[in-house]
Structures are given as structure tokens and as C-alpha cells.
Symmetry: D2
Amino acid sequence: MRAHVDRHELADPGDASGLAAAIAAGTVDARDIVAVIGKTHGNGLVNDYTRAHLTLVLSGAIARATGETRETVAARVPFIFSGGCEGVLSPHYVVLSVDRTAPPGVPGRPALAIGTALSTAMAVADIGREAQVAATAAAVREAMAAARIERPQDVHFVQVKGPARTGEAIAASAAAGRPAVAGDANRLMAWGRVACAFGVARALGEATADETAEAAMFRDYAVRSDVASISAGVEVDCNEVVVIGMSAAWSGPLAIAHRPMADALDIGAVYAVLRDVGLDASPQVAPAERDRLRAVFVKCEPQRDGRVRGRRHTMLDDGDINAQRHIRGAVGALVAGVLGETAIFVSGGAEHQGPDGGGLVAVIAERADGLTPP
Amino acid sequence: MRAHVDRHELADPGDASGLAAAIAAGTVDARDIVAVIGKTHGNGLVNDYTRAHLTLVLSGAIARATGETRETVAARVPFIFSGGCEGVLSPHYVVLSVDRTAPPGVPGRPALAIGTALSTAMAVADIGREAQVAATAAAVREAMAAARIERPQDVHFVQVKGPARTGEAIAASAAAGRPAVAGDANRLMAWGRVACAFGVARALGEATADETAEAAMFRDYAVRSDVASISAGVEVDCNEVVVIGMSAAWSGPLAIAHRPMADALDIGAVYAVLRDVGLDASPQVAPAERDRLRAVFVKCEPQRDGRVRGRRHTMLDDGDINAQRHIRGAVGALVAGVLGETAIFVSGGAEHQGPDGGGLVAVIAERADGLTPP
Amino acid sequence: MRAHVDRHELADPGDASGLAAAIAAGTVDARDIVAVIGKTHGNGLVNDYTRAHLTLVLSGAIARATGETRETVAARVPFIFSGGCEGVLSPHYVVLSVDRTAPPGVPGRPALAIGTALSTAMAVADIGREAQVAATAAAVREAMAAARIERPQDVHFVQVKGPARTGEAIAASAAAGRPAVAGDANRLMAWGRVACAFGVARALGEATADETAEAAMFRDYAVRSDVASISAGVEVDCNEVVVIGMSAAWSGPLAIAHRPMADALDIGAVYAVLRDVGLDASPQVAPAERDRLRAVFVKCEPQRDGRVRGRRHTMLDDGDINAQRHIRGAVGALVAGVLGETAIFVSGGAEHQGPDGGGLVAVIAERADGLTPP
Amino acid sequence: MRAHVDRHELADPGDASGLAAAIAAGTVDARDIVAVIGKTHGNGLVNDYTRAHLTLVLSGAIARATGETRETVAARVPFIFSGGCEGVLSPHYVVLSVDRTAPPGVPGRPALAIGTALSTAMAVADIGREAQVAATAAAVREAMAAARIERPQDVHFVQVKGPARTGEAIAASAAAGRPAVAGDANRLMAWGRVACAFGVARALGEATADETAEAAMFRDYAVRSDVASISAGVEVDCNEVVVIGMSAAWSGPLAIAHRPMADALDIGAVYAVLRDVGLDASPQVAPAERDRLRAVFVKCEPQRDGRVRGRRHTMLDDGDINAQRHIRGAVGALVAGVLGETAIFVSGGAEHQGPDGGGLVAVIAERADGLTPP
């Protein structure tokens, strides 16, 4: 098996032209597509409809190519979009596909491996609770098996999109006697992210089942996953899971690495992850090397104590700009500055994902020698 | 003469406690204060009243110490605040003071030099026009003389705050037969910044008087100043000018350097300016060295063609978050990541200040040997 | 001919369920649909993609019913959505359809009449200029003819959606030597609205061709149309025109009336237009009568001198919330309070549409006797 | 005793010119001032510093007139400002003063009566808890006594401003082992408002001590006060209480009335309260009568079920504009439309203040005959 990662620019949230052209040109085989991850134009909060819009047009483009219905495509392919291109960030999406006819990998030379799974549907009252933790953990294990990754340490990135719900849906569930864990749409989104992060940590052995109990949520930030990136959107009902790592069952020139970010200024983590995939940045990846970067995933979070390196920040008290928008723009720009590249997936809401107040950075890159990595 | 630069944290825009404590402790002599530059909690746009609030309390604190009236203090000391602590940026202010009793500098060993000047008052209809260019140029020359800096190349940073006006004032001026160059408050603010930048460029010989004519404004971006940082606020009537550079007439351990930033990702400029002042960052200034950073000034601007390094950005089309807030948060975080420090003055609206789509970074630091720089 | 007006709630911008159900139930014949006008969830500014999203799904629903392609539907049916449900406003859309097999009207008893037309495509450089004025005027005349409305005074509402363009497109046009009339996306949107309003005024004889010259734009606010409602969106290339009025060539129980609003507090205009269509409000339309309201269209504008009834307002200086969002929420609530109904189309940007600082309100209602109006 | 109510326009949050001029002209005796209530330019959320700014300059103006220190003035006079002039609302403040030398009232002819009180200081952990309920109730009783109002039904408006705290302060209290009832600054603000509302209801007998227990907060919305208007600001430490009603111990031509608003469209309540104070509006207060309006106080709230009159609203899911800003702009405009007046105090966050999803409107007006009301 061989994984392909194709990145496309996005003129607007209804722009499927990049993928459509790639399919038409034969660069991408629509039947091989297993997941799409991207950054859209909206605000990344509850009332961000750009994610659903892009899902609609991309699933339509795939359906037209494969002859499936759009519903069938949406049921087998996770479309995971983080809204909010704050600062220098550029709207784009990466299409992950798997060529199952490719020759097997060379023993001892693992290559990029991808597996996906979709959990059962979550009711409003399940979000942010044990039901979601367990469902996510099961889906992560299923996706690992699909990716033929055996060891947790070979998993470098787990993207999950769980369901968000509007205030209206939350009120309806409460009226029906099944109150959500939080009555406010934005807060419920946060609870859901934590439940998914706990599910990833549990599946990968980063924390025990006991440690990932509901009582630890928003309390014990030592319970965390260093490879989980969770988002939430009103457009999904279940937890969509994409596991990316390294496996000797796969071939091809691509590799992935990740590093936790200790805080929002942890520029060292960015340099480290580039070294891990064999890219030099002194102080920035050279233009000629930039094309070897295939996908960059960042997770971040405003530090809860209102400080960064001891200095006061104002993100948490801002009534005009949501704190997640602030931090995405900031950490995104720091990473972009090292990479010389702004097509980066940056997602906020990193509670229990990476160190508290920090997050994680993962990079998929082509090896310098263009060969299957040793 | 010897320049002092003291930085204070800001809990809220009415917090003068840092300066008051420094005056009480004798660290700062209130009579020596020549300028205050800082970053406040507001949005940095027309309806940002935090700048005026802080001016009120700091001028009051100085007045109480010197026995002057607050009006006298405000008339002799430029208070220049940029609103908007986007992302990781931290609210703070630096107090610039001059000890005129200090021994003269050593020939051949220039040290940090500061000079200030206030231009005549600007009418609404003067803003963004030749009258403001000429007034600013004259004030820059006056401030250079006050700083005893003879050569333009020894000027490393010129901060100007010119007047902004509300829509109401603009309408009143138009009704009185003196229409402003722009009818909209935010746009007039931009015109005023350009006129001030042209004034700095003209005074320092970065551009000729012909090149800095009104016709070149927002047209010929090759006409620019690489040391100008212009802001505007409704709380001032004239152009307040602070010139900072190096002069052998001054003594002390402080030095300043600057670099233009080619674009929003020019991380190399940040590393370069640190080298210029003798600070190492590999990849970040070490905690032990961080205290040698006394003040950091950054100017930046969303790239006008809607691209950064060829990739689409969305700042200019965003109706929810002003483009200046986006770019301040982004470039501020990139600089903060290299410095390990978030108390940075970052100001947007860099039209004709540094390269188009980029800006500038200037750093005041203590020399490693603690001695007057050679 | 007989006009039908069906209103549907909108759960999110991808929700076509209301129209789909009505088509399935036979309430609406998809082939009869001539226009859709609605209010969506976005911000109503340049980066509002909810309008395009809803256009996509509704044109798809119609295409599925008629067997046309979605492109054919979009080419014959104007979809005109104003983003921004500020305050109490409720997302919804009204479907206008024409039953051409209905018996002719009774002489002397005019009924609701609808006509539509699409102008030629506008280049970026055409927007806000004479080319757009002329193209809009021609399209208005064509739509009047289609509606068989002969006298301008029988036209009560002309909705036009013209093209908006992103900063990127504006920069590209300038680079190609065809600069737009404004370099900023939001300002170009405003210029386009004015050109369309001038086109309506010219077509209806509200102003002469001379009076509607480019030189009068944003200058002479006495040049205006009291029935024009102009919006703009990045999703269209031409000027889409819907003319609604009264004509004896039509039958049915529906009627339309309109009133200019002198300013944002002109509650008297709302009571007056209700009287015009035979609805009582003392002080609010009674719940039992509310269903007779079929569509309400409001256009409004922040008063340019920064005052309302002599008191200062702050809309024009607000860097956090766009002035159009402020005024839509305010005037929308005032109208909703009189009507007891929040499904109102409220569109800002009323330059030269109704009195300066005011706007217009138009109401389509079922006559009390349920008969074709006399 | 006689109460005076003077309204002043506010050019910016540092503008004390109106009060200063009134003091200089002898219209207001600075020693008689007992409270100031107003609407400032900020966003009305945690990071709104315009309230503190205006408090600073107005307390300074009073101090200069009376010879007190500013601290003394601030300790005896509640300054209660609601930030956020959304839509048509106009920044302004009303100065309430009491002439204790005026002749006593006529038996049977009650007139406007004002009393104030300040509670003890609240710790972060007290906010939103029983400690705040009890402290507020005690302060309300004290203010009623000061106003010589004996019967609760003669109280028509109770304004309380309690303390808000920043995320930083909340985190510090938690770290010190005294966690706040909510970890988020905006939510803690809401808890504090509810505790104060419960305190008012308890003091006035609108609800029993049992009913106003912590367990009923955000749960049982039948527990409410129909005269309470609560705001919160980071600039105060205690609960500042102003009670306004009618008492035969007072003389003068002013009267106050109030009505609960059933929901955001309850225009009938506005007409009713105008009738209560003898003002006609058909459909708007006539310009000649407008000056008899001395102060208008409105409290409102986005309906929690996401609906208004059964129609969906979008306020609670909006990540760009805070729901309180939406509802203030909407209800403020509805009231302004009936009054023909935009200098209205409109405050959001009406949890347990008036009917759920609604709020209250109170009006102070001069009686038509200019005499002490019978």
C-alpha cells in the first residue's frame, strides 16, 4: 500500500476545482480517497458553515468521479475542516488517498500509513461524556488496524472530528429530559473535544481508562494525548477518526513526525519536527525544499492562567475576538515563519491535546532522497 | 547624556502602578521622562479609547511627581500607544527617559540616543496631505537635533503618532467646506499614516520631496521609510515624533538596531536584528538573556495582493476581524517566538513603512558586556 | 397569471428542506419559480459564503424537480440572499412563483405582479460605474415588461443583486490595467450598490439620466430610488433584477405596498405600509393576522452624519462590528416589533435607496377578504 | 427632598464636559449627586474599559467641585455604566441628584425618590453565590430606607452593579483554593448578575429566601425581579445599588413607572409604560414632548430556546458578535422607535430580571402639568 497526500488551494468554501482537476488529470484516483483535511474561510466556531459547504462540494466531486452517491461518499470518507484562516494562514485542503495496488513496503523501512474509522452516532447528551470517550477509543483502534500500525509509538497524528450542536439542539435535548453536559454551544464543543482526546489517549495507552474518566475532564491536564487533534462541527453526527503514522506494511517516499509544543512560543518544537523528517530550516525552510512539505497539522490553545512565559495575554477576556481565533493566528504564524509556508492546518481548542497551554505540531514530508524512508 | 528604557506590565488601561512604583523607588526620575510607547488592550482602531485612558493616568502619575499640571506633561511628553494585544502579545509600556547629567559618551562609542518633537496641530483637512508631510518632516529634523544624531543612517526608529478623527468630526469638516481626503474614519487614519511616513522619509533622505508628493501616496510603494512606525489616535491633534538612534554624544550600555521585514514571514530579519545587538537566538533567545531585551518595535501590514509567498490569505476580505488585527497577531507571534518574549510593540498600518506587504523590526537591548557599546 | 409567495424557515445555510417539502407536496410547482429572496446566517459582508451555499442547495432542489441542470436553474432564477440575522431577525427565504395558467385578473382590480431579468456580466472595472447603471436600468425595464406593469408608480419593490468582488480579484483587475473604482472589497460593494440604485431610479423615472451620472454617486443623495433594494455578493457576475408591483393583468389575493423610511426611527412608515395593505397593528399585528404577512423587505443605512434625531450614534466608528450589521439589527427589530414577526428581509447598504440615513419598507400581504384586491 | 435627573451627551468615554458645564452653570450641585447611570462606547463585556475611564473623569469632575478626593467621591457615588451602544443607541449618562433642602412633598402626591447603598466587598469566590445574594438584599433594603420608600410596590427600578473579574483573577483565586463558581470571565459575570437579581427579589418580596437559593440560579426562571437591572464591571469590588421609586416624602415634577417586557418584541410594554407616566405615543412620542423623557432604562436578554415568537434566532450561536450585543441593539431600537429618542440605557444579561427571554422597561419623565405628581 502507498499513501498519497495532495494539497489544493481553496479560493472559497465552494471551490472544488483543485480536486476536480486532479481527478480529471489522473493525479488522484477518486476511489482511493480515504480522508480530506483542510482549513476553510469561516470563523471555526459554532456558526461556521463553510465546513459543511466544502464538504458538500468535495463529496459531490468525488461522487461524480466514482459513480457513488454523495451520501455514500460522505459515509466512507471523513471530511475534516477547521474553520478560521486567521493572520497569514491560507485556506486549503489535503486529500489523503491510498493506493492498495502498490507494492508492499521494504522490511525495516516504514512509510506513511493512513487508516480511518467512523464511530456510531452521538446523541446531544453523549457529547463530552464517557459514551464519546469509549466510542472514540474504539474508532481509533479500528483505524490503527486499518492502517496496519501495530505500535502506538508509530502513530504520529490522530485527527478526530466530533459533533458540535447548536444552542437550539441543546435546548431541545434538555427539554426532552436528556440535558447536555453544557448548555452553551461553544462550551459543549469544548467538552466534546476533551472526550475525543481522552478516547485517543485511552486507545494509544497514553492514559489508562481510569485516568480518562469524566472526572478528569478540564481538571487533570496531565491526562492528555500528544498526537490527538480534535475538532467539532455541526455537520457531523459521529466521531470521524483519521490515524496517520508509520508502518513497514506501506511503501512510498512520505514520512510523518510530530512534536508536542510546550507553549505558544515553543519554536524549538517546530525546528525539531522538521529535523525529524529531514528538512533543514536555518532559519526557514528554503524555497526549493518547501515543496517537500506535504501537510502540516498544528493544535494550540490559549494558556489558561492568562499568561505566556509569565507575561499577561488578553485572549481569554476578549469579547470581540474569540480566544481560539487569537491563538490560531498566533501559533499559525510562528509555524509559518519557520516553514516559509502558510498552508497549515491550525486548530484551536487543544484541551488535553499536548501540554496544557501548548499543543502539537505534525509534519508530513517527502524524504530528501525521494525513496521509501529507511 | 544617557538614555533609560524601563518596561512596565499593564494590568488594564488605567494601570499606572508600574510607573508610579518606579518613580517612588527612584528608578525613574519623572522629570527625565521624554516619551512613553506602549501596547494597550483596545482594538487599535478608531473606537479604541484605551490609548487615551492610559495617557490620562500616566500623565497624571508624572504630573504628581513633578508638580506640573497634567496638561503640561501631555504637552511635552509624547504618549504613543498602539491598541490591540492580538494573540500572544502582552499589554505593556516602555518609559524612555534621559539623564542629562550623565557623563558624555566616549568618542567612537555611540550609545542609545533619543529625541522628541511635536508638530503644530493638524486640521481634519490637513490629515493625509502635504501639510502633514511637511509638518512631520520638520518635527523629525527637530527631534534628530534634540537627540544629537547627525547622520540619517544612525536613526534606527522613528515613531510618530498623528491624529485620527471620528466620522462625526470628518462630516463636520466637510460641512464646513474643508473635506478630508477620505470620508471614512478608518481610511482617513490610513492616509494620515502615509503622510507621516512620507514626512519621515523626506527628513531622513530616504526619498526626495518630489517623490514624497501626495500623488505617490498609496500608489508608489517604493517610496518608503525603513525606520518609520506611524500610528494614529483620536486623542492627539498634532504629530508626535520620537526619534531613536545611536550617537557618540550619549553614554550607557543600551543600543538599538533595526531591519526591514520583506514580508510577514521574514523570520530572517528577526534573527538578523538580534545579531545586530549582540543577542543569540538558537532558535530562541535564552531565558537568561531575555532581560537584555528592553524594547521591541514591529511594524507590519497585510499584503495588498491577497497573497503571502504566493499563497492566498483572507485578511483583507474579513468582515469580522479587521485586517490590522489579523496581521498584528501573526507577525507579533512570529517575532515573539524568536525572542521568547511577548511584550512587543506591534503596530499595523505599515503603508510606505518598510517594504510593501512587510514592515520593520527594531530592538533596543543592553550590550552583553554591560558597557557603553563600542 | 397569479403570483405565489411561500416562506420557509432556514435551519442552516444548507437547508433546502422547506422548499423540497413544498415541491414534494405540490404546494409549489418548481417550474413556476421565478425568484428566491432570503436572509441567511452569514455576516452579509464580503466573506459571507452562506449566500452561495444556500443558492447551491436550493438550485439543486429545483433542478431535481424540473430535470434541469443546476446551472440552468441558476441562470434563469435570481437567488438573492442578504446575509446577517442580527438581533431578532430570523433566517428564512421566500419563494416567488408565477402560475401562468391562472385566469387573468379582473379589470380595475390589480394583483401582485412579478417580473425578473438578468443583465449582462459585469467586469470588476464596470462595478460602480455607468456601465452598471445602464445595464441595471435596462434589466429593470425588461423585468417590468415581463411583469406587465406599465406605470412606474405600480412598482413597489425592485430587488437587485449585483456582483461583489474579493480584494484578490480587485488587485488582479488593477494589475491588468483595469482598476476598479475602489481598491477595497467592502467599498467596491458600496459603489456597486449605488450604481444599481441609480439604474433603478433611471428606469423608473425617479431621476433623469443626467442626475444619475457617476458624479452624483455618494454626493447628491437627493438622487435616489424609493423602491430599490440593492445587495451584492461574490457569487454573481451580473445584476439580477426582481421587480414586484401591482398589475391588472394578474389575479390572486396578494398585494404589495411600500413606504420610504425617513430615518432609522421612522416607525410611522411601518404602521403606514401595514395600513396600505389592510393590516391593523395596535400596537402590533395580532397573532391571528400575522399569517397574512407573506414577505417583508426592509432597506436601511447608518446615518452618515453620525447622528440619529440629533443624537450621536457610534456605528460608523466601530472597528469590531460593521456598521451595516448594527443598522440591520436595529431597524429589523423596530419593524419586527410592529409586525410581531421576525422573518424579515433586512438589507443594509441603502445608499441612494430611500431617504439619506433612512431606507424603505415593503410588505406583501394577503388581502383581508382573501379576494383579488380591488 | 427633591430628585433631579440631568442627562448629558458623551462624545467619548473621557468626556466629562457635560457634567462640568452643568456644575459650572449651577444647574447641578456637585454635593447633591447620589448616582450616575450611563451608556458608554465599549463592548459591554469583560474587556470593556470605557466604563472605568468615564468613572475616572466624572468622579474627578465632581471631586474638583466639592473639594473631596476622587476616591471619596467614588466611595459615596455609584457610577453605573453599561458599555455597548449597539445600533441606534447613543452614548450618554444621567446624573441623579437629591436636593435635601427642598420642601417636603404633598401628602398623597408621591414624587420621584432615589436611594443608594454600597454593599461590602465581594471576593472572587463570593460572586454568584449566596454571599452576594445576601449582601445585595441588605444593600437594597438600606437604599430603600434612604429613599424613604416604604412599600416594595413603590420601587420601580433597582440598578445594581456588581463586580466582574478577569480570567486572570479567576485563575488566581482558584490557585489560592477559592475557586469561583465559573472558570470563565463571561460566565462568572452572568452568575454575578443572577445573584444580584436574587438579592433584589428577596429584598422586595418578589421571591422568598428559599426560592432565591443558589440551586434556583439558571434553573427556575420563575424566580425573578421585575424591577432589577443588574450589570457587572471589573472596576468595582462591591455591589453598588440604586433604588428608584415614588415616595410622598419627596416633591418635584418627576415620576417613574416600569413594565416587564414579555419578550424581545413586546412593544406593548413600551406603549404601556409611556401611558403610566402620562406620555402619548401615536405611534411615536412627539418631538415637543420628547424633552419630558428624562431617563429610560431597559433590560433584555436573548431568548434561551433560540426562538422569538416561535421563529429561530441566531444570537446564541454567533461566534463573531456576542449575544448580549445583538439583543441590546435590537430591543434598544424597538424602544427608541416608540420614543423617538436614542439616549436609552439598555443593558443585556437579564437573567432572572423580568420574564425569561424578555426584560423590563422603566421611564423617568416630567409630568405634563409640570407639578408634583398627584
